[in-house]
């Protein structure tokens, strides 16, 4: 027994030198990986803000000119507007639809497993493949969207070729991939104690009342979680714009990451691209902090929960 206990102490660590070493040794992949592939590039990236650097030439010290240029660059402002527009509209709509679907699929319906699989399937379609397919779904002449709208007498719409329609088309496409959020909501709905809903019913609450007073408050942490993740992802959306429109028409789908990619790897402006990347990073951090601050007003956490 004492042998076991002392062995237990050995394993959970008694501060022996050899254990320190083992600890560091086992953690070394992360320590090295972090220093080489995360910390060093981050510092280097901050350093690059001060330089103009075409990879074919020597870096040139540029002071704050990158930052000044960024603030006035119409392409940068356009890309920021596009990403904001896309995020601010797509995320709430995604949340509403995925939550409603999760509610519906928590009802006693037949074939629930089939429905879940069907709504989940778009998630497993590789994003590149789905971009290639949706480019054609939106095709004015041979796409299935216009074909379907045609049944209701709608004339063909040039979705990805009209500056006013390209972003809405992208938002529409993003609604196809709400399976991930839906799965999280379904899991959460399954965890709501039946007793709480019954108690609300006894108090005279109807289905809608139970939803408002019991289900919604208990689901707010998950709604918040999905919102944060979806916001961060939407801000960084890149593949659809790169494949379907290459930023067009007239820069209507020039999103921030696409603009950064172009500056770095097509125009050879490494310093400028780093500046833009930091700007995006700060915006995402700011947005996330803001969401956390506002969340105190509406997200419900149980007392003593984790």
């Amino acid at each position: 027994m004492t042998a076991l206990q002392s062995a237990g102490r050995l394993l959970t660590g008694g501060g022996r030198r050899r254990d320190w070493l083992t600890g560091y040794l086992f953690a070394s992949p992360f320590i090295l990986g972090f220093l080489i592939f995360i910390a060093y590039p981050m510092l280097h990236s901050a350093w690059l803000i001060m330089f103009e650097w075409d990879p074919l030439r020597e870096p040139e010290f540029a002071g704050f000119s990158n930052i000044l240029k960024m603030l006035e660059d119409p392409k940068v402002n356009k890309s920021l507007f596009n990403s904001f527009f896309y995020t601010v509209i797509a995320v709430p709509v995604q949340l509403c639809i995925s939550f409603t679907l999760a509610l519906a699929l928590s009802q006693p319906l037949w074939f629930r497993d089939y429905y879940r699989a069907a709504f989940y399937l778009p998630i497993i379609v590789p994003l590149v493949a789905s971009a290639v397919v949706w480019q054609r779904v939106f095709h004015p002449e041979f796409g299935i969207l216009n074909e379907t709208l045609g049944w209701f007498g709608v004339d063909p719409i040039r979705w990805l070729f009209e500056p006013q329609l390209a972003k809405p088309a992208f938002i529409f496409m993003s609604l196809w991939a709400i399976g991930r959020q839906m799965v999280i909501f379904i899991a959460g709905l399954g965890n709501i104690p039946e007793s709480l809903k019954e108690a609300a019913s006894l108090d005279g609450a109807n289905a809608f009342g139970r939803l408002r007073t019991v289900v919604l408050p208990l689901m707010t942490p998950l709604i918040f979680y999905n919102m944060v993740i979806a916001t961060v992802n939407s801000f960084q959306s890149f593949i659809p714009a790169m494949i379907m429109t290459e930023g067009g028409p007239s820069d209507a789908t020039l999103f921030v990451v696409l603009n950064i990619y172009r500056n770095a790897f097509q125009y050879g402006r490494m310093g400028y691209a780093s500046t833009l990347a930091w700007e995006l990073f700060l915006i995402i951090v700011g947005f996330t902090i803001m969401q956390f601050v506002i969340s105190r007003r509406w997200v419900y956490y149980e007392e003593g929960g984790n």
């Binding site: 992360f30 592939f37 379609v125 809608f208 490494m270």
Partner: protein, 302 residues
């Protein structure tokens, strides 16, 4: 369209007083039936783009561009798949490159993440909390911030146009989320078994590989599935680091087909279907781990 409005109005019916219970049940059943129809229509709609992709990959080009749309090809034209492989784009290489990158990146992720997770879960060492904090912090960091300097780094050491930038970082446990998930799982396993093995003279590495890892199959499988999807779908990194077309993975290869075979929709669809197929098979056999992973990360990250 009228179908969609019906179930939205129905919940009001549930407001009927308790005395009218049988009637309420009937209304509830009506409501469920309407919901059933609505969800069926919606789920089919969600399937249509994928089904259209698969069916179009089997059409001849006159059917692709026919009015009205041909939903199901008259005769499945399997030759499109042969054309995809024998055209001037090296589809075979795209697939083989994907296999190589994914296998080594996932392997690295699993091994390094388990080692690091073990260190954080079971060993006490000075600075552990500091490094664990950094690990959690790096989860929030968007890849894009380090994109440019990482590119410069890899170009400087001569890794441009090789697979190394797509594989080596993942042997360094840079995907903090996976380390975190495995660590959480390890923490939930009681230490007695390891203690016993330790007394018998097993090293820490052996207790990890022969006791903890076999007990952690669910989380390992989840991490493996997620890492596999991540590297299989990765587009931006190979786009940046690879120059020679023969080295491209499928994700970038599809863009090549989309750019160079832009008029041949059936071929582009065939290649997209080829890219979806293995994931679909994996999904059918490992659906549990897909869903588990989502809910785990959902609650883990909160």
């Amino acid at each position: 369209m009228s179908v969609t409005q019906m179930p939205l109005e129905q919940p009001a019916a549930a407001q009927a007083p308790l005395a009218a219970k049988p009637r309420r049940k009937l209304k509830e059943r009506l409501w469920l039936a309407a919901l059933q129809i609505l969800i069926t229509v919606l789920s089919v709609t969600f399937l249509v783009p994928t089904l259209w992709m698969i069916s179009s990959s089997l059409k001849v080009s006159t059917e692709v561009f026919a009015h009205p749309i041909v939903w199901i090809p008259r005769n499945p034209h399997w030759a499109n798949y042969i054309t995809a492989f024998t055209g001037h784009l090296p589809l075979g290489s795209f697939i083989w490159n994907t296999v190589k990158i994914v296998v080594f990146a996932v392997l690295g992720t699993l091994l390094s993440s388990s080692l690091v997770a073990y260190s954080f879960a079971r060993i006490d060492w000075p600075g552990k909390n500091f490094w664990f904090g950094l690990l959690l912090g790096s989860m929030m960091l968007p890849d894009i911030v380090t994109l440019v300097p990482r590119f410069i780094l890899f170009r400087t050491i001569g890794w441009y146009d090789t697979f190394y930038p797509l594989i080596v970082p993942y042997w360094g446990a840079v995907m903090a989320l996976y380390v975190f998930l495995i660590r959480q799982f390890f923490m939930g396993i009681p230490g007695e078994l390891e203690d016993a093995a330790y007394i018998d003279g097993a090293s820490r590495l052996r207790t990890l590989t022969q006791i903890l890892m076999p007990l952690s199959k669910p989380v390992m499988a989840t991490v493996a599935v997620f890492a596999l999807l991540q590297h299989y779908n990765d587009f931006l990194n190979p786009l940046i680091y690879l120059k020679t077309m023969d080295k491209f993975p499928l994700a970038v290869g599809i863009k090549m087909f989309n750019d160079f075979e832009v008029q041949r929709w059936e071929i582009v669809f065939a290649v997209s279907t080829i890219m979806l197929a293995p994931i679909l098979v994996l999904f059918i056999f490992a659906q549990r781990f897909f869903v588990q992973g989502i809910t785990m990360t959902g609650f883990g990250g909160r």
